[in-house]
Symmetry: C2
């Protein structure tokens, strides 16, 4: 990594703090909805959902809904329910993801499936997903419902696509981008797009914020993929090398495989195929990712998408909200350093 | 079982044939929607979904939507999409149920989770669920969306409740009725209630058909519970004794446990607790269910609910559709003989 890829716009490292400060008041409203609507007379539901929802997540997606509403000067509170719905959809997919991947750690805590078992995680995920739709129906906007029901279908499609690509070394960059655009960026995009609909802003604003969210989501996913190889468990809150052991084809691996000699390529084929998953194998993988510049270039890709996100804000006049969203996009890249 | 519990209203055994004949034309429309909307560029989705959807199910719930529309003389086709949405919700819950129960057989075929694995079943279920909401949003009725999103949340709640009650011998009749009203009857009720909304029928018609569907759903579930102990794999399409081996508290077991002497109760405690799951244990369970009249009385309960369902149709004038729905309620009981 060289100095040229460091962010130029701020002295201090970019963070989510300005966005958090911007939406703090609204976020209390969203949290109240989340807390109220994850309740059920079936005690296991709030217990399991609460473990994950209260478990130190950033609330990134609802925060984006709120910040986009602030950008548009929306004075109401309709978006609180919708931001909660977005978080419920996200929580449902996390619960199901952890079952699918057999994960044991998330956000530095034991996963729900490890504590309560896969069946409970599947069913509570279904509950939260249904609850999300109930919240949207209560809001009553068919346009919002269209955006979020479509995003949900796209996410599920992307998850199945990723499952199909797992352990397949021949997965290429285009296919990988399709997968993360669906499984990650679609919900970021929808979270941002909801606000201009509620604020009755222009179609331009709607597409602009959709574009911001989509590119931001891709940037976040790319830096996540880097972190999975470069970070340690303490900062990441989940085990390093999870993607490696699961045989997930992410951009760093795709780049390193493309650039490797015959011997390196044989290593990657074996590793992604599930034949080399020891700590030594992971160390070798991290070495190869460094030597080939795959991690640095993945960060460079993330930076490109973050720039596209920032460009999509071009139509909006300067404001605290715009600065906070811009810094969020810079943070999406900087977190992977 | 005595002659007094045989149905009196028909000479031939009650069947779904009249309802199938009634809705055959509309069902072609529903099937076309189902086939079109389960497609995806991710090939595993139509492959896995098709295995279950084309796999010989009765299409009971969409059939009810269509028959209720016929009862109201609704001339349009809006309900085709909604009936497909109902079937997608049902299919999603079946996919997840089979993961939750670790089932290997359904409708006489190997389950999707056995063929493609649990992860694929979870994620394709999520896709179908999202697709169901997309179909409803396309229809555009917020009242329908409210009915079906609420039903979905209630179903998931009921499934978690059932999971909590599993292997707990102290589950009582009231709790059991709550569980099946949620996990099974809610979708029957919603499937029936959708039609009066689309047909712009009276609120009385809406509540009448909701009541019909709910009670019919309970009757179906009760007879399912009997079949799981009384039938053989050939007629049921899944293994006999699945509920027994899974430690599921169903009404037959609740009644037999309540009526048993100390020795019988000790057997049930051990069996439901998971300590007695051999074929001999199952045979003993079936003996006890017979001796205590638990199976016959569960059928008697089913008959009561079927009667309530039929009574809920009282407000509608005689018609082919009414006769078909009435016979469906009789069939719900007769299938367990």
């Amino acid at each position: 990594m060289t100095a040229t890829i460091l962010p130029l716009s701020t002295q201090r490292p970019p963070s989510l703090d300005p966005m958090m400060a911007l939406v703090a008041g609204d976020m209390n409203g969203v949290n109240a909805v989340i807390l109220e609507r994850m309740q059920s007379k079936v005690a296991l539901i709030p217990e399991l959902a609460g473990h994950l929802i209260a478990g130190g997540g950033k609330r990134m997606r609802p925060m984006l809904t709120l910040a986009c509403a602030a950008l548009l000067g929306y004075p109401g509170t309709r978006h609180h329910k919708l931001a909660a719905a977005v978080e419920f959809i996200h929580t449902a997919t996390l619960l199901h993801d952890d079952v699918v991947d057999g994960s044991g750690m998330r956000r530095g805590k034991r996963t729900a499936n490890l504590i309560w078992g896969n069946p409970a995680s599947v069913l509570v995920g279904d509950f939260l997903f249904s609850r999300a739709f109930e919240l949207m129906v209560e809001d009553g906007s068919l346009r919002v419902l269209r955006i979020l029901s479509h995003a949900s279908a796209v996410i599920a499609e992307g998850e199945v696509d990723q499952l199909t690509a797992q352990r397949r070394i021949e997965t290429d960059e285009d296919h990988y981008l399709e997968i993360i655009t669906a499984k990650t960026a679609a919900l970021f995009a929808a979270a941002c797009r909801v606000s201009p609909v509620v604020a009755e802003a222009s179609e331009d604003a709607e597409f602009g914020l959709e574009c911001f969210g989509r590119n931001l989501g891709i940037a976040f996913q790319l830096s996540d993929d880097v972190i999975d190889y470069a970070s340690d468990a303490a900062t990441m809150g989940k085990g390093v090398g999870d993607d490696f052991r699961d045989g997930k084809m992410t951009l760093p691996v795709i780049l390193a495989y493309a650039r490797g000699g015959e011997q390196d390529r044989a290593f990657w084929r074996a590793a992604i195929g599930g034949e080399r998953i020891s700590d030594d194998d992971l160390a070798q993988a991290i070495d190869l990712l460094g030597e080939t510049g795959a991690l640095a270039d993945t960060i460079e890709w993330a930076r490109q998408y973050a720039r596209r996100a920032i460009d999509a804000l071009g139509m909006f006049p300067a404001s605290k909200a715009k600065a906070a969203l811009t810094e969020a996009a810079e943070f999406a890249v900087a977190r992977a350093y």
